[in-house]
């Protein structure tokens, strides 16, 4: 720990330089300064329960002493598989207090994936929230001999393991901690150094097995402190933690930003109730990947579709006014008096009440990242009065390394580096970043570390460029940028995002590398397209059946035509298929964070991809479904190739083709 500093040198909040502390040291300091301030809130049995900094520290102390009694020592790993509950952060902080490393595991991961992560990271203790998670570990128990204890939180269904001392309840761990000498925690915490590795975050791994990025206290707190400085977060601001804690995006907010700025973290009752709980909390800032923002928007869209005519017309008009005003401010223009008046009407007539309905009334800052968000979604939120910003960063530099500054938001850029961060773009167009947030490399993967971190520069593998205003613009994965047969380059992700703006299209995968035309796999959205079908009395049974409905195909064709009008001729989708199943992370088609695994999909559905280019009208498919219980079922079906009129023909078009980077 740093030498004691006099109170005056610690700044207005009395914390001093938080990046010179370890996370548990920072918690201890917060507990000393504001013992009764609310650190966490958790909804249980319908009631929000508050945890003060003092209580937070007490739990971390008990966990640390308990783990110490179980023999956990400096540098050992403690894996955590749980939804967003206070025990997650108690366990993390408790482990870090001992100098141990917490490892976040996605709670939706299957048994084999859990086994892989626990084994690869050498975790000696695992926190498994409930029976469901415990069962995943039990399945591979004989291969997990290094795991000394499994700590469970929810006792339901655990009675059958009574007497098995592999298991210990979380309450029993806390009790064990209370029985230990009370100086364990303070002694161990004092030995911590800010550059110690304290947390492993798994990288999403669009290619290959996930790697664990080794994050230090300083990495996390540099980011948390930096974002707080840029945005002016206040102690006591509310944040709702509802995305997987294993994901860097949630980790940085619920731990790094929260402790660096004194933000209150709210844990919803369950994953399913998160959006209702959001309305109750009304957070001051939010971070969510594009799909969450898209789903809010399509919810509003759907509810308006069900409304009566006058209401719908009014909504359309006011939304247009607020959107026009947003366009002006997003492009840096000044609002004219007429537009300002329209915005005022829209504010009271539509956007403020709508924000209230969604739980966004107190929202001052909102972030999206992880993938690109369509400009139209962006415009929708800015019209609504939500200060949505695009951020950019990797797991390896704590999620947010670039962010827009207030009043300087553009939908096609990701803003400027956090204070203290540096940006460089190589001659190949790759984005390199350097800052104290760049991690210490990948666990047991020196090869991969040497490849991506050189001289402190993190090599992102993303193509990007600088805009005249000095903002960073991200184009696509460097390896994903494709070239048509005519040599025009295009970004499949850009095309996919345009198509996915349709509320009826859930997922899209574009093809066309080395081909004359672009084609795509599309997933219809089971909710919106399902509702559309029901309204028109189109009977369907399964998702497969829905996707095969001719009228659904016609609907999607029209949506694709609309999207095509916003694409350059060589980017336009000429043919598409409606895939008979939703792309799923369980089938290795998406990453756990919902990104498309292009290569895996191309290989798995090679027949369909080939049929898109060989002039077929349809392609017979032998589809195998795997259910969650491991059963498989095989169905024979026929996937129809749909043609889009007005798409680019094979003939080369006029030379007016902007470079890809212009609008990614």
């Amino acid at each position: 720990m740093t030498a004691p500093v006099s109170q005056g040198a610690l700044g207005p909040d009395g914390l001093g330089d938080v990046t010179a502390l370890t996370i548990p040291q920072l918690l201890a300091r917060r507990a000393a300064l504001t013992p009764d301030a609310v650190a966490l809130r958790h909804k249980e049995y319908g009631i929000w329960n508050e945890t003060t900094y003092n209580a937070y520290l007490a739990r971390a102390r008990e966990v640390a002493a308990g783990l110490h009694a179980l023999g956990v020592t400096r540098g050992e790993k403690v894996a955590i598989i749980a939804e967003n509950i206070p025990a997650w952060v108690y366990m993390e902080l408790g482990a870090q207090a001992l100098g141990a490393v917490s490892v976040g595991v996605y709670q939706t991961a299957g048994a084999a994936e859990v086994q892989y992560v626990v084994d690869y990271t050498d975790a000696v203790v695992v926190l498994a929230e409930d029976e469901e998670q415990v069962d995943k570990l039990l399945e591979f128990r004989h291969e997990l001999s290094q795991v000394r204890r499994v700590i469970y939180v929810d006792k339901r269904g655990m009675t059958r393991h009574e007497g098995d001392d592999w298991f210990l309840s979380f309450d029993a761990l806390l009790e064990l901690g209370r029985q230990q000498p009370s100086d364990t925690f303070d002694r161990e915490v004092a030995q911590g150094r800010p550059d110690d590795v304290c947390h492993f975050s798994l990288t999403s791994g669009t290619t290959g097995a996930p790697k664990a990025a080794m994050l230090s206290h300083r990495n996390l707190l540099f980011m948390g402190h930096g974002l707080g400085r840029v945005e002016g977060f206040r102690a006591g601001d509310d944040y709702l933690s509802f995305l997987p804690m294993a994901w860097i995006g949630e980790q940085m907010m619920s731990v790094a930003v929260a402790l660096a700025n004194g933000v209150t973290i709210n844990f919803p009752e369950s994953t399913q109730t998160a959006l209702q709980d959001l309305v109750e909390i009304g957070p001051h800032f939010m971070f969510a990947p594009p799909r969450v923002w898209e789903s809010f928007q399509s919810q509003v869209y759907l509810r308006m579709q069900e409304s009566y005519g006058v209401n719908r017309a009014l909504y359309g008009r006011l939304l247009k006014w607020s959107g026009d005003a947003a366009d002006a401010s997003l492009s840096g223009r000044k609002l004219g008096a007429g537009l300002a008046f329209k915005r005022w009407i829209a504010h009271w007539g539509l956007t403020r009440p709508l924000r209230d309905q969604l739980g966004f009334l107190r929202l001052e800052h909102a972030y999206t990242g992880g993938a690109a968000l369509g400009p139209d979604v962006f415009r929708f939120y800015h019209g609504l009065g939500v200060n949505l910003k695009q951020i950019y960063g990797q797991t390896e530099n704590i999620g947010i390394a670039y962010v827009h500054r207030d009043g300087d938001v553009r939908f096609d850029t990701v803003g400027l580096p956090l204070p203290g961060g540096e940006l460089r773009i190589t001659d190949d167009g790759e984005i390199l970043s350097r800052s104290p947030a760049v991690c210490h490399g990948y666990y047991k993967r020196e090869d991969a570390t040497a490849e991506s971190i050189r001289d402190g520069w993190l090599h992102s593998g993303d193509a990007g460029r600088m805009t005249p205003e000095g903002h960073l613009q991200v184009i696509d994965r460097l390896s994903d940028v494709m070239k048509s047969a005519q040599g025009q380059s295009f970004s499949p992700q850009y095309i996919e995002n345009r198509v996915k703006f349709s509320p009826y299209i859930r997922e899209a995968v574009a093809f066309g590398d080395g081909q004359d035309e672009v084609t795509a796999f599309l997933n219809v959205d089971p909710q919106t397209a399902g509702q559309w079908a029901e309204k028109r009395q189109i009977a369907y049974s399964t998702y497969m059946d829905l996707s095969a409905q001719p009228r659904i195909a016609e609907l999607i064709r029209q949506e694709v035509e609309v999207a095509n009008t916003r694409l350059e001729p060589h980017e336009r989708i000429a043919r598409f298929v409606l895939l008979y199943k939703l792309l799923d992370a369980d089938d290795d088609e998406l990453t756990r964070t919902g990104k498309v695994r292009r290569r895996a999909i191309r290989e798995k559905y090679a027949d369909i991809v080939n049929a898109l280019y060989d002039g077929s009208e349809h392609v017979p498919v032998h589809a195998t479904f795997r259910y969650q219980d491991g059963q498989t079922q095989t169905v024979n079906t026929d996937v129809i190739i749909h043609r889009v009129t007005g798409a680019a023909s094979a003939a080369p078009h006029s030379a007016v083709t902007a470079p890809v980077g212009a609008r990614a």
Binding site: Y45, G46, R156, G157, R160, T273
Partner: protein, 265 residues
């Protein structure tokens, strides 16, 4: 220990025997299923247990209580709750309101208390809500807590119906086709709930169900009714091998030499 005994029960509707001399035992802490073709008398038997019908002949006891002539509210007081095949919920009320209402028999405060409200009445209401919230947690209904029941999907409504029965803190739970009309996933959930109800809450369960796969998986004991008569009873594997049961289900006796014909052939 309360056990449910049905002794030689006959139920007659104007000359038609819905049940004829049915005797069976439901030991404490077991899951016991009653199966049989449509119209076999399964629901009639449950109606006799829960006091909607009174047996024409015979006796039904639960522990030391005689249920043969007891009214439904009296039966409830003995710790027997029932989830109905045709949902008995207030469609306009929310899930939590339905559950609170179901628990009103457990609310013990006077008219005067309720006029004053503060003090005993508010304390009781708070306890009541806390109990209901534990059931909501148990049945994983948090998401739907304040949704009107009528707006929920059928599978969820079924779950609310079981939750409604559970709020009565029963010792014996009667489930009448809790899985009818559900998809596979909803069925799996319900099976898990039934097993947890038995394991975690120590509640005895009597189950009427058509899905034989489910019945054979989760029952400790199975009774088979056909035309109002008990034709078999015992462990699931014994019952499924019983030729009388096969006959009742397929309409064809499986005797050596005569291969069973498909129904409706």
């Amino acid at each position: 220990m309360p056990q449910l005994h049905v002794e030689n029960v006959t139920l007659t509707f104007g000359g038609l025997n819905a049940l004829t001399g049915v005797s069976l035992t439901v030991p404490e802490g077991e899951v016991v299923s009653i199966i049989g073709p449509n119209g076999a008398g399964k629901t009639s038997l449950l109606n006799c247990v829960s006091g909607f019908y009174h047996p024409t002949k015979g006796r039904i006891t639960f522990g030391e209580h005689d249920l043969s002539r007891a009214a439904p509210n009296v039966v409830t007081g003995f710790g027997i709750a029932r989830a109905f095949q045709n949902l008995e919920l207030f469609r306009g009320l929310s899930v939590v309101e339905n559950l609170l209402l179901a628990r009103h028999t457990h609310l013990k405060y006077s008219l005067l208390d309720s006029l004053v409200y503060y003090g005993r009445a508010s304390r009781r209401e708070a306890e009541n809500r806390a109990y209901v919230e534990r059931i909501i947690d148990f049945m994983e209904l948090e998401e739907y807590r304040s949704h009107p029941v009528g707006t929920l999907g059928y599978g969820i409504q079924k779950r609310v119906e079981v939750a409604r029965a559970l709020t009565l803190a029963p010792k014996l739970l009667l489930l009448d086709e809790p899985m009818a009309g559900m998809n596979v996933e909803e069925k799996e959930d319900m099976v898990r709930f039934i097993m947890d109800i038995r394991r975690e809450q120590g509640v005895t369960v009597v189950l009427i169900e058509h899905d034989l796969g489910v019945v054979m998986d989760i029952s400790d004991r199975v009774y088979v009714l056909d035309f109002g008569q008990l034709i078999a009873g015992g462990r699931p594997d014994e019952v499924s091998a019983d030729p009388r049961v096969i006959e009742a289900y397929t309409g064809v006796a499986e005797t050596p030499g005569s291969a069973p014909q498909p129904v409706g052939a």
